[in-house]
Amino acid sequence: MRDHLGRPLVAVTGIGAVTSLGFGVAESWSRLLAGQSGIRRITRFPTDHLRTTIAGCVDLPEERGQPFTSPIRVEHMAAFVIEEAITEAGIGARGRFPGPLFLGMPPVEVEWPARFDLARKGHDPSYPGMTATAAGRHDIYETFLYGGIGERLAARFGTRGAPISLTTACATGASAIQLGLEAIQRGECDACIALGADGSVHAEALIRFSLLSALSTRNDTPEKASRPFEKSRDGFVMAEGAAALILEDYDAAKARGATIIGLVSGAGERADNFHRTRSNPDGRAIVGAMRNALADAGLEPGQISYVNGHGTGTPENDKMENFGMRAVFGDNAPPISSNKSMIGHTLSAAGALEAAFSLLAIRDGRLPPTINHDEPDPNITLDVVPNVARDATVRHVLSNSFGFGGQNVCLVLSAEPT
């Protein structure tokens, strides 16, 4: 089947997810629908001197009290969600996935344990000293090389071609799905893995975001800290997680008898040139990204049943998202909710996790809530599905991702054509 622009339809046949609410799609989704929060006090490392001491951490059973560095955590979570997604899709032979890998992930760099190790071994804390001592440290090289995670995942799952690792800040997961969508639309492949993963909760990252005044400091009540669209919201809550989608040419998926979970029916993007951490008050870029996604999917605003919002819980984002929604949808805006109220802001994973939950909302006819909605913000005029999940007939979902650096990506997820 072809879409309104003559391109092959792109189906989703498998989903994998890990969040601070649980390992696997079923646990994460059921707890999201139950309105539970995965935000807790950080126990992985000391939090003295930190302004924010809470997060949506994913502590892996295999860490056994020895915390992984960020790239290793990302790799483990990514492998978990790819495995789950491939198993559901039932595609390819083991270790031989018949398509490429698009990996949305955070930037990586050499971390403190490696620097301390080199400084100790060489009895020299300086960079020239550490560099001399780094001879033969293939472990450091391969762990912190930007292409390292993608290569190891590609080798493990036997994906085809060069894996593409990418970042568009908080839109990363959506960009990965967009790249996969485009690859199938242009006939480069019949199937691919698109995922977003992030495991960046460590002290230095928290301090960096704190210095930008981006994080909630509601440390005493972690589960109440992420308050998208609510009057007393004071920032986002950093979190970890991952989601993978198996994307397939719809006809190819039907021909092999796959179960179709839904479609990725469109993607739109628009970059902002206003400011490094804020969107232009005219909303042009986020409105443009939403409209481009609708146009790409061949839909009118009125055909969208639900919006899975970016909804970070920063005062600025939610105000701008409300503005953008009104500009695109006018008086008849569909309900919008923020998964981040429960799982926090999973950064590079957010776009992929939220696309996954959008597809599940379509499958199950249930809108996940925005929790912690105690006092409405008079400037937020949207139906945010406050506190309690809701039944709804959901045919098309718009999923918004707006990133630091002005990188905005919106996806349209749709039900299988009838």
Binding site: G6, P46, D48, H49, L50, P107, E109, V110, R115, F116, A119, Y127, P128, M130, T131, A132, A134, A135, G136, R137, H138, D139, I140, Y141, E142, L145, Y146, G147, G150, A154, G161, A162, P163, I164, S165, L166, T167, T168, A169, E182, R186, E188, A203, E204, I207, S210, L211, E269, R270, A271, D272, F274, H275, R276, T277, A285, G403, F404, G405, Q407
Partner: protein
Amino acid sequence: MTRQDVVITGIGLVTALGEGPDAHWDALSAGTSPVVDNTTYAPWPVHPLPPLTLDRQIPKKGDQRQMEPWQRLGTYAAGLAIDDADARALVDDMHLIVAAGGGERDLALDEQVNAELAEANDGARLNELLATGLRPTLFLAQLSNLLAGNISIVHGVTGSSRTFMGEESAAADALRIAHARLAEGRGGIALVGGAMTAQRWDLLLLYRGEDGLWQGPHKPLSERERPGMVLGGMAGFLVLETAEHARARGARILARLDAVASNAARRAAPGEAAASAQSLLSQVAPGGVDAVISGATGAPAAWKEEESFLQGVGAPVRRPGSLIGHGVEGAFPAHVGLAALALHRGGFFAPMDPADAPMDPEDAPSRILVTGFGQWRGEALATVSRAEF
């Protein structure tokens, strides 16, 4: 879907040899010596960046202050490419794909923390030192996607923005995807490229782990007794357009970007990377090529694989790594830019390495192969042809 021709209409090039097409054509067509700093990072030589008049491309001091050298370099070179394409008026709908590593760390702070805590295992004190020592702007200067973000902010490029990570492969795939999107009609104009600064201990530390860096005073690639990389500060940005888009606006066409292909062999056994590149050759150059610009990094295993592959190509080779060093994310687009430059000027470059065979200056190539063998993983090829429009 009708495939459209994709052409190169702008080059933004900065290397140790200078900036811009003229500086590079003049030096490299006549033959030149490398600009090398053998001492600052000894025993690891680097090719330093030339002095840049940042105000010319990044006019606001406030923007310059929000960046560190890596982002400034990339933003500067992106502006050079836009100017070279005379495309300032087209930035609203210009698509952007950047190949990025990460920005500079605060090395003095790292060393101070190391000195106090390497033996101590004191997480609380680490938090305290970082919370008081880290500058707010540094985080944004470190973020990989903020090179693209700064290109949007400084130059107004807002069609779309994507950042690929993964060393040499990231740059080749950025070019491959930008080419494919234009060819299938997703937009008319795109900016693609990457940048790397070599004068950075934090990068030397990372690459040192693989024992792939050349140690000792600079030598050309083919004369390094044990192959190894010499990093070179470098940025390469290209403005790509559909031929139709370029013609409609009367743009000067430098060359046609025929094809870009990439792969990633596991490199578990000798010969795998060479075979991987060989399999790409028929995709990008079914009719053969007249000359090759090699992306040889100098990394030992990749060097052997590429030399074996090049023997089968049967065309004269130029190895820019001997003169400008290895530019990681900046290398592939810079080399494609050099290919476009030669095709546009109707000539070719003098030998860059003792292993480069001389060519009759009259014998100008009309199709050039650009190779990219990643220092660890990734094989990529691009072909660039003389524009016949």
